[in-house]
């Protein structure tokens, strides 16, 4: 007998519905699987075999053929276990035909017949709902994630027996429907948007905090330099807490990426907090950008709509760092391999930290004995094109014990966030109807239009460029940053002071080009 079960496959963060066809016919007993199945998919035969035995189900002693259609697309992952098992049961007439029609199945089987979580549930269920499928049966660990999708009934199953019982005679008690969870109406425990880390815990470091606000407000990439232990990571970790809360769409995007990466903890629903990706400097290029034979999002996609923090920037592989150039421009990363060509969203805020010299104490010549050559070599490890894309450079110095014991509390993340939000609103208004979202994205040619300078300020900036020997790129960078500072201060026009402050964040050419 023939049966057809619906399941899904991932294509980047999008997905495609897959028909799992099973035919059970007389002949020499055989279990054949066709349809460009990867090794995990082919292994499902063994899992199904054992799961059937351990739940007391008879495995048909016949010729079983499984086809995954479209058959020319490579398929990976363990989520086909459940649809194949259901297909066999239906073909062997253990469950009545027709009950599984218009239901999407996803799930990995354990040898004892339990159904285990899989990755990529959110995008696949979203696709199913779009294609008009009415119902889906997914691992109970993924049920909350599936329930985010409106317009489809989501049922979470614990075991194969449970699904079998439900399909024999469908009734609500046997496999209860997962309560829908929308962005606006989420009662789950992790719906809190409060961050554990708060800027109030950071003493002093006004320079870095100010730079963090500007960075978050205008999505300007940030580089912090300073001696070891000065609090560079401390600042970076707290930047997500001053970004505006994730919007509904952003939250869906981020959740989908985490789902595809298999990073959603079982039972979790929408991600509401911005993440913080801090890869170790030994990270390889595919791990950073995404890829692999079985494609998964890399660190830059996990940092989507949030912060990618590269600590010890000089220690990173130059190739890996240079690979950030395209995603920084396009806000997504295109990965082309022989077997696939996909893209993952990668709209991240780049935050980097490094020591000013190999020992970390330059320009304090009492402590630093690095020669000019070693400093030059050290700085040379930061690739020029990436440095060009960094809008804010800030130097940090150790806070004196006196300042700490004075108990001077810093401003809180909430206060800083309110300024960021103010600037975001101004930018939203300014760039309405354009492809721009933030001041940091505006092209040199459009700066005139969106970030105009008054005559007095323009001539001042020109004079400053001459005095400091600024490049055109630096000139534009200062205007963009000045625009964000003006937005934070709630000013419509860019003032003298905004330009001065913006210029203080430029990379000091004399230092970087020595």
């Amino acid at each position: 007998m023939y049966s057809k079960i619906i399941s899904g496959a991932l294509l980047g963060v999008r997905s495609l519905l897959i028909n799992v066809e099973v035919d059970v016919s007389s002949g020499i007993p055989l279990f054949a699987m066709v349809g460009c199945a990867g090794s995990e998919v082919r292994e499902s035969k063994e899992r199904i075999w054992a799961a059937f035995k351990n739940t007391g189900l008879p495995m048909p002693v016949s010729r079983i053929t499984v086809n995954l259609s479209p058959a020319d697309m490579h398929k990976e992952g363990t989520s086909y276990d459940l649809p194949i098992a259901i297909g066999i049961l239906e073909s062997a007439e253990i469950i009545p035909a027709g009950n599984s029609g218009n239901i999407l199945f996803l799930g990995e089987l354990g040898l004892n017949g339990e159904i285990r979580t899989v990755r990529g549930v959110l995008p696949i269920v979203t696709e199913a709902a779009k294609k008009g499928i009415k119902e889906c049966i997914i691992p109970s660990g993924n049920a909350a994630e599936g329930a985010i999708v409106p317009g489809i009934i989501v049922r979470g199953a614990e075991s194969l027996t449970q699904v079998l019982e439900y399909l024999r005679s469908p009734s609500e008690e046997k496999l209860p429907r997962e309560p829908a969870c929308s962005f606006e109406n989420d009662l789950s425990e992790d719906s809190s948007t409060e961050y554990e880390e708060d800027f109030a815990d950071v003493n002093g470091q006004d320079a870095a905090k100010r730079a963090a606000v500007i960075s978050a407000a205008g999505f300007h990439s940030l580089l912090m330099t300073g001696p070891p232990g000065v609090g560079k990571s401390l600042i970076a970790k707290r930047i997500p807490s001053i970004m505006p809360p994730l919007s509904r769409d952003e939250s869906l995007e981020v959740t989908a990426i985490y789902s595809v990466a298999g990073k959603l903890p079982p039972g979790s629903t929408l991600i509401r907090k911005r993440g913080f990706e801090s890869p170790h400097h030994t990270i390889t290029l595919p791990a950073l950008t995404g890829g692999g034979s079985n494609p998964r999002p890399g660190a830059i996609s996990l940092a989507h709509r949030s912060v990618l923090f590269l600590d010890e920037l000089t220690e990173f592989d130059r190739k890996a760092i240079d690979s950030l150039r395209q995603p920084l421009e396009d806000h997504e990363v295109h990965i082309s391999r022989s077997r696939y060509s996909i893209s993952y969203p990668a709209d991240f805020l780049l935050v980097c930290a490094m020591n000013p010299c190999p020992c970390g104490y330059y320009p304090d010549r009492n402590r630093c004995r690095c020669t000019e050559n070693t400093i030059r070599k050290y700085l040379g490890k930061v690739s020029g094109p990436i440095l060009d894309r960094i809008d804010l450079c800030v130097q940090m110095s150790p806070v004196s014990v006196k300042d700490i014991s004075a108990g001077k509390k810093g401003i809180t993340s909430a206060e800083m966030r309110s300024r960021v939000v103010l600037a975001r609103i101004a930018q939203k208004k300014r760039y309405e109807g354009t492809s721009y979202r933030f001041n940091s994205e505006v092209n040199g040619s459009d700066l005139e239009k969106y970030c105009p300078l008054d005559e007095k300020e323009r001539s001042f900036l020109g004079e400053m460029s001459d005095r400091l020997g600024l490049s055109v790129r630096s000139y534009h960078r200062i205007i963009r940053v000045a625009r964000t500072i003006a937005d934070i201060e709630g000013s419509d026009r860019i003032c003298h002071g905004h330009i001065l402050e913006a210029a203080s964040y430029r990379p000091n050419d004399e230092y970087w080009k020595t």
Binding site: P356, D364, N366, E372, Q395, I485, S504, N508
Partner: protein, 399 residues
């Protein structure tokens, strides 16, 4: 004369023997009567006179010579003059007198440009390669003052104090001489190319190493001996405890040169060497003016064969308060801040000095300002030229 030209070529060859220092070279010439005879002597005599390593180096040179003797000699001479490199031996009258005085004076020197004039005073300015902003500022104004006073500045053309003082002297139109630890045709460090090129024109490049020799670490101590040997006095601008600069000072003292040290703060590691020297009785360097006055005394007394009147000098220094005031003007512009500053700029500038401070440091000193305000004031000072930026975000005052 022809005979001397031939002999000079042999002397040049002798100088290019690795590891052969001035005193051994002179003794050999004295023993054999001429440099030519050294190359004609048999191997046994030489190995009896020299250390095994030295005689091996010399014999290797002799052997390579015996095949193509003439052509090689010509090549050395022709190669040198083609690069503008001259060679001079201690036998010639133009050989610097100051250098002839020192123990272990070299047999000969290679040089490009000219040699220091015996009629003009010459002063060695030395110090750390990785110097602080303070050292940089002192070296710059000292070099300039010496250049203006037509005092020849002798140094090693190294990074840091050496190169900065020499460049400053050149910029003021003064004469300066770089003594290299490599061949005179090798610009080391390459970052001092501009200085190297200008020294060729107004001053000179001097080396005791044959053209083409690389800057090897072991070449620098003998080079330092020449630096102090060519000078009437040595000024140490900045040095750490246990540094190469202090080795040069030892050599200078051995050669009977007056040593001046620029005092620094006791908390600055880069001034430890200088402060230590002052503690041991070195002259304290108070200002270029005072120094120049004392320098002429040193030279005069040397001419008369006496030792410099040290006590008198110290007595005079105690009454030079008017000069100290002048010193302030020289090093800190003046005590007063520039007149065209706003109140905020004056406040920030008054806390800035030659120790690099970041905006954060300034905030903890001037609590009334927040970061945006300080960053604006600093940028304004930078644009107006009252401050300079060091590293990514540290500032010093520009005098």
């Amino acid at each position: 004369m022809n005979d001397y030209a031939e002999e000079k070529r042999f002397m040049e060859l002798l100088c290019s023997v690795k590891g052969l220092n001035g005193s051994v070279g002179r003794s050999l010439i004295e023993y054999f009567g001429s440099a030519e005879n050294i190359f004609g002597a048999d191997e046994k005599t030489l190995s009896g006179l020299l250390t095994p390593a030295l005689s091996k180096n010399l014999n290797n040179l002799r052997r390579s010579l015996s095949d193509t003797e003439k052509s090689l000699k010509k090549k050395t001479a022709a190669g040198c003059s083609a690069n503008g490199i001259n060679f001079i031996t201690f036998r010639e009258p133009a050989f610097p007198d100051r250098l002839s005085e020192i123990p272990d004076a070299p047999v000969g020197l290679w040089y490009i440009g000219s040699l220091p004039s015996p009629d003009l005073p010459s002063v060695a300015v030395i110090g750390a390669r990785e110097c602080s902003s303070y050292g940089e500022c002192v070296a710059k104004s000292l070099g300039a003052a010496l250049g203006r006073a037509k005092v020849q500045v002798i140094s090693g053309m190294a990074r840091g104090i050496d190169g900065i003082s020499q460049q400053a002297a050149q910029d003021e139109g003064g004469l300066s001489y770089g003594v290299l630890g490599s061949g005179a045709d090798v610009c080391y460090p390459p970052s001092n190319r501009r200085l190297y090129d200008s020294l060729r024109l107004s001053g000179g490049i001097i080396s005791i190493y044959p053209p083409g020799e690389m800057a090897l670490p072991q070449n620098f101590p003998p080079r330092n001996r020449i630096v102090s040997g060519l000078s009437d006095a040595v000024i140490v601008v900045e040095a750490r405890q246990k540094s190469g600069t202090l080795i040069t000072v030892d050599m200078a003292l051995e050669q009977g040169r007056e040593v001046y040290a620029v005092p620094g703060r006791i908390t600055d590691r880069l001034s430890d060497g200088c402060n230590g020297l002052i503690g041991q009785g070195a002259n304290v360097f108070l200002s270029p003016d005072i120094f120049l006055a004392e320098l002429s005394e040193i030279i005069d007394s040397k001419k008369n064969g006496g030792s410099p009147p040290r006590e008198e000098r110290i007595k005079r220094r105690s009454t030079c308060s008017s000069r100290i005031k002048k010193l302030h003007r020289e090093y800190s512009g003046s005590r007063d801040l520039p007149p065209d500053l706003s109140d905020d700029e004056a406040k920030v500038l008054s806390v800035l000095g030659l120790t690099p401070l970041s905006a954060q440091d300034i905030i903890s000193l001037l609590k009334e300002y927040d970061y945006p305000a300080v960053s604006m004031i600093l940028m304004q000072l930078l644009i107006e030229g009252h401050a300079a930026q060091v590293g990514q975000g540290s500032f010093i005052r520009k005098y």
